[in-house]
Symmetry: C2
Subunit: 488 residues, 2 copies
Amino acid sequence: MAEESKKGAAGQDFVKEITARSVDFSRWYIDVIRKADLVDYAPVRGCMVIKPGGYAIWEKVQEGLDRRFKATGHRNAYFPLFIPESFVQLEKEHVEGFAPELPWVTEAGGEKLTERLAVRPTSETIICSMYAKWIQSYRDLPMLLNQWCNVVRWEKRTLPFLRTSEFLWQEGHTAHRTAEEAEEETIRMLRVYQDFVENDLAIPVIPGLKSDKEKFAGAVRTYSIEAMMQDGKALQAGTSHFLGQNFAVPFNIQFLDADGQLKYVWQTSWGLSTRIIGALVMVHGDDRGLVIPPRAAEIQVVIVPIAPVKERGNVLAEVGKVVAELREVARVHVDDDEEHSPGWKFNEWELKGVPVRLEIGPRDLKAGQAVLVRRDTGLKEAVPLTQLKGRVVETLADMQSSLLAKARRRLEEQTTTAGSYDEFKQVIEDRRGFVVAGWCGDAACEAKVKEETGATIRNLPLDQPADAGACLVCGGKAKHQAYFARAY
Amino acid sequence: MAEESKKGAAGQDFVKEITARSVDFSRWYIDVIRKADLVDYAPVRGCMVIKPGGYAIWEKVQEGLDRRFKATGHRNAYFPLFIPESFVQLEKEHVEGFAPELPWVTEAGGEKLTERLAVRPTSETIICSMYAKWIQSYRDLPMLLNQWCNVVRWEKRTLPFLRTSEFLWQEGHTAHRTAEEAEEETIRMLRVYQDFVENDLAIPVIPGLKSDKEKFAGAVRTYSIEAMMQDGKALQAGTSHFLGQNFAVPFNIQFLDADGQLKYVWQTSWGLSTRIIGALVMVHGDDRGLVIPPRAAEIQVVIVPIAPVKERGNVLAEVGKVVAELREVARVHVDDDEEHSPGWKFNEWELKGVPVRLEIGPRDLKAGQAVLVRRDTGLKEAVPLTQLKGRVVETLADMQSSLLAKARRRLEEQTTTAGSYDEFKQVIEDRRGFVVAGWCGDAACEAKVKEETGATIRNLPLDQPADAGACLVCGGKAKHQAYFARAY
């Protein structure tokens, strides 16, 4: 055991500044994201500043998704921030859905503009206007593009990462020759999101179809992946839309098919945003702060040298050797700051969620070992330096998979089946979580649930049972099995 | 020699659609960037759409710079797009410089805003407002942040990549304890730009100090790297600013120093944008299209199988083996499209600037070879398949360094020394390029040159001679040696 690891007193105080999850989950969330330096409030209504710790997670999201997008044949492009008002108006449902949230540029370069420009809330309209130029023949299809950018939706009630007026995201926009091909793409990208979110972020999700009421403004069908937070509220973590020809017709995106016929394309769009950072915090965090899955961690291993002044030189020299070796297999940071005590540092790096901490002091070096502490379990072990590299690799891999397993167990525990509507109301009120129940498909039953319980249909899971039973509300024959929950 | 490489007829026609550089360099530029699919005009005044081919170059710029920024201790963050009008007003010179170009959001969420929001033209003001909160003690310094984002400057006359109303860039913003440290940072990042632009993009540059007239609005000193295009016009490729305390004072960014005194921080900012893509085109392109340096190329090697129908299966199987081997050392694309002739493909990939083309046909395979064609020189050679991997690596490395060497020779040829102001005027009019001359430091002499010749002081190179001689205009003692040129 490392020499100074008992001296946690100062650190204990520090940790107490975070509200316990059991006391107030919302306050816990705000405490963690601010104290762990992920985000700050901006002096612009409803906007946030993503601090380096938060942005580093976003960079891992970008890497993980971008690699998968390219592997499935997509390329990146960039379209303008501003969308002329006449474009926004072209797709009727789309404009109705987004108009209330749009910011408008009305003056620029010292003059009043003749046509107002919307700041993009999403880019279907501007991209469709270009696709109409670019797509002429079936040989130009499929068109598989993605864009990494900022978007703005003027929100009344905001929460950092989860709902802010400006946020960062990627938006994929594809055009296809047939409806079947576009539908396949819609599901393919939903599965790409699921694969990334589960395997890299260790967040288990339910992939499924949104109800008509909850679908994207302008889509024929919207699919989502839904995650479950520790407080029993669901969070939509990514969406993939089958747009049909809803944009192709008003934007006149036609191609000459091999049969000599002029046809409208079939389209999809799909997006995942900085909201996922909030999900990562709320799924894995604990009362000591963030817990970051190794694949999403900017720093995977932090080394805290524990060195009395006179032995500092020796210890740092040995630590230098360890670092050189570990950097071959992990992202390593050495905290050799002289201002703070080891105890303070332990707490600071736990707050920041670094997966593995190594403590190395003179006595450890004499014993030819380091003390390895794992963030998720808190387990400590002395590891011989000769085995350290292998043990770090094992620990990171194990932590990655056990975080997913743990979150999956919790998701299962938080998922119940309602025998009756009364039971459903009780569960939503007391335990929250997902309630799986039948739904007849009628919007009236869906609305009643929302009004009476605050829960919504999160989605109709892709894996449907042969018989969905009876509708939770009206008792009629259920068309679908649905996941209900209160949601962020 | 590959079987079908003679059949270039269709392709020759294709190439003719590009205006020759000698005929009209501006038209050549527009032809190349549009026909090579780098960019398109957007239906929003002064904005561009960056197509996948152009965005792929930007991704290489991002990778190359981001790696260097992190290696020099910087981290990424993200600040809001919108800046309240009161913030913009705080630094006097800054607002005077940028106000004429700002777009304003005046309505959002269905309501008129009480305070107008500028769409960021650069982020000094919003970032300084956060630094004032974040920086309390000397222990918080240096603050070394960078942001990748879009910015908007409402431009009257636009040219894709070089000058558009919206563009992508990175902006570094740092705060330091002392003026010396901030000045060191300013030069360090200028040298980072130089290193990246010269070594990755093969564009030689002149690093130097801008004159007061040409400096960034709000800076104490602005440094730039200046590149020279094939038409003899200069292009500012990146800037690094020493901001002194010009923002720290109005934004009240103070820290408690180790001596117990409250002091204002010293700041820098530095930016490089999608404009660099235009520079890359104008420095390396030729009458056949783009020439992309291997390190900046999305596709480094394109393989064109040349297969009569009955031998197609065999040829593609062999090509598959070659690809598997080459992918270990290069970014490889196989163009096995059946619609176009090999000749068409050769021209298409030359237009797109892919560094190395490999032609593989049945006769080549029988001879155990492939034909390697290098984009910059057009040289063809038959390479035994057993040596192909090594030869590709060598060719890419050689092309990277010889593009820089070639551009450097041209830069030297395009740089002249003026004996008199009359001679200077003649050179600027006839040959263009850089003219190196003495400058007394008087703004009147600088203004006279601009008015009479259209040339400006690009910068005062960091490497100054012991004696700068006489001022080009007034004949008085020169304080600096200056690089003059007409510029984009």
